[in-house]
Symmetry: C2
Subunit: 232 residues, 2 copies
């Protein structure tokens, strides 16, 4: 289909550093570099790519940040296992996030905690349940829950999935929830849904109920925070 107004294509004007970064990542993956394998030294890379060592170092600096390479003086650089969440960790900051991203993150939590029900039931152990019980019993005696209490309970759930990336992901998302949580406190909204027995109920279901029940309970436990979440 021919449109009347042809849009001009953006001209890619990547900096040298960008190009070297891409080249290096391709080079590493396409040549089957594995963690532990050592890379050519900086001057050699610079010469082969016909750029200054500065440019190479700026690109390498990025790869270091992502955990793709590690450098030791004299030993040179070695490939290493990239850290999946290192990059996202640095920008997961509510004070500079857009409203849109914030909303996306909130929805993500809702989706995740709804989605882990099956995992929890498939993987729960007596030890896990005991530890979780200790948490909810302690909280049952309290008048109201702090955000630390929330973190302790939900954190334990993430932990019980046995998925480390998951567990870490939660700690990344926390600052975002704190940020909004504080708003709720300021507005006094929390009082209407702060329910100290809610965590206990979730625990009880996890111990003797079904995944479906758990999901339902989790849904009503979380949705007050996200009252507008389901609207588009």
């Amino acid at each position: 289909m021919i449109t009347k107004a042809n849009t001009l294509e953006r001209i890619e004007s990547l900096s040298m550093t960008d190009r070297v970064e891409n080249t290096l990542r391709e080079y590493l993956t396409e040549n089957g570099f594995k963690p532990g394998d050592s890379l050519p030294n900086e001057t050699e890379i610079a010469q082969q790519l016909n750029v200054s060592r500065n440019v190479v170092r700026e690109a390498l600096s990025r790869l270091r940040m992502l955990g793709m390479v590690e450098t030791k003086t004299r030993r040179g650089m070695v490939m290493s296992q990239p850290d999946l969440l290192a990059g996202i960790e640095k920008v997961m900051n509510p004070s500079i996030m857009s409203q849109g991203n914030m909303k996306d993150i909130f929805e993500l939590r809702l989706i995740l905690e709804m989605g882990i029900a099956e995992f929890l039931f498939a993987r729960k152990t007596d030890k896990d349940l005991k530890e979780l019980e200790a948490i909810v019993l302690k909280q049952k005696g309290l008048k109201s829950l702090t955000k630390e209490d929330e973190i302790e309970f939900h954190g334990k759930l993430y932990e019980m999935t046995g998925n480390d990336t998951f567990k870490r992901f939660q700690t990344l998302l926390l600052p975002v929830f704190d940020h909004v949580f504080l708003n709720y406190f300021e507005k006094g909204i929390h009082t209407e849904f702060q329910n100290t027995s809610s965590h206990y109920d979730l625990f009880a279901i996890l111990k003797e109920g079904t995944a479906d029940e758990f999901r339902k309970a989790m849904h009503s436990h979380l949705t007050p925070y996200y009252s507008t979440s389901f609207q588009k």
Copy 2:
């Protein structure tokens, strides 16, 4: 409790670049920089931090990669909206991922697609359903589904959540699934669960059923790929 073997505390030996990077990120967030605000120029930063301009540039290079700052010649640098997924995008490469990370990612997909049921039912529109119907009807006539077909169907679901970060996340995860999907094909395992009507069933439920039904159907649609997922 005193342990017999005292562990030595890690000594922080961050490079100058690491420290400048952290300092800059703190500076930007704590001083309430918002997208569009302009930063001091490189030489000024270097002078104030008492480091060379090279170090500052290596740190800035990282922030540029994350989308936190943009630079224009002569105009200097301006804060910009960080890209949440830019960092993860570069390391989401199955050929250099650890088995553990791979497993985590697989489980993540399962959790996500189980968790989006509520969103889909809350946000589905007639337009969405029509488009999804076109996809599944097309696929119903096929003998078997390619990975492109899978992507088309599941991608549309992600799209229907109305969560852009989500949708992009899916495109990031795809290479990982491709990687393993190919293994299945090689082993001939796919034949036992390749079901061309499965997508249609999911669509039908989405159109007239309930979120619970949908989740159950999705569960049985996906678990064959992840037969070992629920074991710890």
